[in-house]
Symmetry: C2
Subunit: 373 residues, 2 copies
């Protein structure tokens, strides 16, 4: 049997996390089956796992063999999840494992015994069938734990630089910049000659980035934050930011600093502010609070959601292959990920662990090993 | 001599509005000079006139002949206007008048005695020189007062529908929808078969729009606002809004309602919300308060500033000519404007009048006649 993590929001305003027992899948002709040994908990997984439920009010029920966690959902939030109500959903965007069975096709057979990574969804499962085309095959010296985060963070970092070029910007700003993703983005930008302004929230995070060679690091908890940020923007000319935080005034403050930088380089007054387009894309929502905008940065600005999936849907296959090949080649260097904790599926649905990984703070990254006892 | 309204923000944190006496301009070969008889006070003029000054603390100084109004500017706001400090600036984006002098070119001579409209800036002047190409020549039965608003509102209404088409949307939402601009947009949308959701703030404004044939009108002061808005969005499929308000939660609420409408039509759950891009462009800031976003509408959303000037700069000449020709032909019908008050230049810089037109409320529209005594 194969154990699988499930998330369900029931019409009685309750979220349920549980472990389902399903048959080990049989591979079709062009499929393989992997024993999943490593699947990260990304911010993008948390949305599906928890929905809008109040996880600090979660309760452990069921048996030791069949644990179940329940948590309440506000009536107000039910409409936002109407299309998933009463559906037991698998979770885990990406992960890696060893190929233990293969369909009859030559391409599938060639993968037997290999370590492969995939972003097929439902990776918080002991066994998972995948088509050959979904798999990124790793070099022989790479372990599943090392390959677990081959899709979301690496492709996000690369897609940010691609978006920058496509939309006519020449440098980047990134928030929560000491994260695994932020460190990757620094390595990509250093390799590709892109100037990157890193915004972090502590002196400790400044050090993390300093150590990997980041040039522009601004600490938002410093009294000089605004001045430091304007200086970095003047030096780099960055007019595009990717923001993982979402809530509060950070996106607003970045736009205001971009406008200050633009006005310091401009010679003429424009009643509508600078004519240079300033953009913040929110790709995460680490801060769930309301975002506030004072709109004190002219008219040439934008804020919006940004999603890797949407970027990939707009990209052609050759571009996606190019990016994936780069990830596989550089998985132990540029795209190396670090984790603080490896947990089992049972641990993943324990209220105490949930509160830990639910924090989503920088340097607090969890890896699920579905085959850990 | 020609009297001209001037706005200056001085380095001592003071805004000054005054009337300057300048020579009547001489037309160059391809120029004409108009006696300006009508120039509207648009929201887009207020920014230049008042800057970030506190107009409710304004004081009248100077003489009856040479009145001067001063108002304080917060130290915090000075950086946002750094490039205009200590510069005496002319004001008035658009207006209309009678051609009283012309350069030697045939095109210029042909305009003598005609009523023309222009958006040359500095229209709060008794006389204004313009190149022939800047002028929109009016049919003989049109007065300067009728032609005063031939650029900003008419071209904005048309540019909104052009933006809708260009960015792949099929219907529109508009806020402060009973304004002159809002009424124009209704007439344009009715003529062009575009479905338009009008958001207003009072039952009286509902009636104004009902009278001109608007089909979808939603009152944001009603208890049923959200439900009514979702219904209108479901009926029209509008995923693009133009918002004149800016502050508060209105833009957020529009995005949330668009997301509700999208989810009601969607069959599958997506953890990132609907994949349909939902956009709000803020083209004004009638509410100066902070905008708040709860970001509870997935990842496919955007909010940004929108400016007619930027739209025109990205458009080719043939498109602009097409739009301008339509305005001139329909200035007494589709693009008719209404004003509540015609004031002189002296009245325009009187503290009491300033507080009146500074309100920028719907149905409280002012026209400056620089040649009114």
């Amino acid at each position: 049997m194969s154990v699988q993590l499930r998330s369900e929001i029931k019409s009685n305003n309750t979220l349920t996390l549980s472990l389902a027992q399903v048959s080990i899948p049989e591979p079709a002709e062009d499929e393989i089956v992997i024993r999943v040994e490593a699947a990260p908990i990304n911010p993008s997984d948390i949305g599906l796992l928890f929905g809008p439920a109040h996880m600090n009010a979660s309760q452990l029920t069921g048996s030791t063999q069949q644990p179940v966690v329940t948590a309440p959902v506000n009536e107000d939030s039910m409409a936002s999840v109407s299309s998933r109500i009463d559906q037991s959903m698998v979770a885990g965007n990406e992960g890696a494992g060893v190929v233990v069975a293969a369909g009859s096709s030559e391409n599938a057979q060639a993968l037997l015994g290999k370590v492969v990574a995939a972003a097929g969804g439902g990776m918080y499962s002991q066994y998972r069938a995948l088509t050959v085309i979904q798999c990124m095959v790793m070099p022989d010296n790479v372990t599943p734990a090392q390959a677990a985060s081959s899709f979301v963070n690496p492709l996000t970092a690369l897609a940010m630089t691609e978006t920058m070029r496509k939309e006519g910007h020449t440098a980047l700003v990134h928030t929560a910049a000491a994260s695994n993703l932020g460190q990757m983005l620094n390595k990509v930008c250093l390799a590709d000659g892109i100037q990157l302004v890193n915004i972090v929230r502590s002196a400790q995070q400044v050090e993390i980035l300093r150590d990997i060679g980041a040039q522009y690091i601004v600490n938002s908890s410093s009294d000089n934050f605004h001045i430091d940020l304007v200086s970095a923007l003047l030096a780099t000319g960055a007019t595009l930011a990717f923001d993982a935080i979402g809530g509060g005034a950070l996106a607003n403050d970045i736009l205001a600093a971009m406008e200050s930088a633009a006005n310091q380089s401009a010679s003429d007054f424009s009643r509508y502010g600078s004519t240079i387009h300033k953009q913040v894309y929110m790709y995460g929502g680490l801060d769930k609070n309301t975002s506030t905008l004072n709109r004190n940065y002219g008219m040439a600005w934008g804020i919006g959601g940004w999603l890797l999936t949407a970027f990939l849907q707009k990209s052609d296959t050759s571009k996606i292959n190019e990016l994936q090949n780069r990830v596989a080649q550089e998985i132990l260097t540029t795209f190396e990920s670090k984790y603080n904790n490896e947990i089992s599926l049972s641990q993943a649905i324990h209220p105490e662990t949930i509160l830990q990984y639910g924090k989503q703070t920088t340097g607090n990254k969890y890896l699920i090993n579905p085959n850990k006892i």
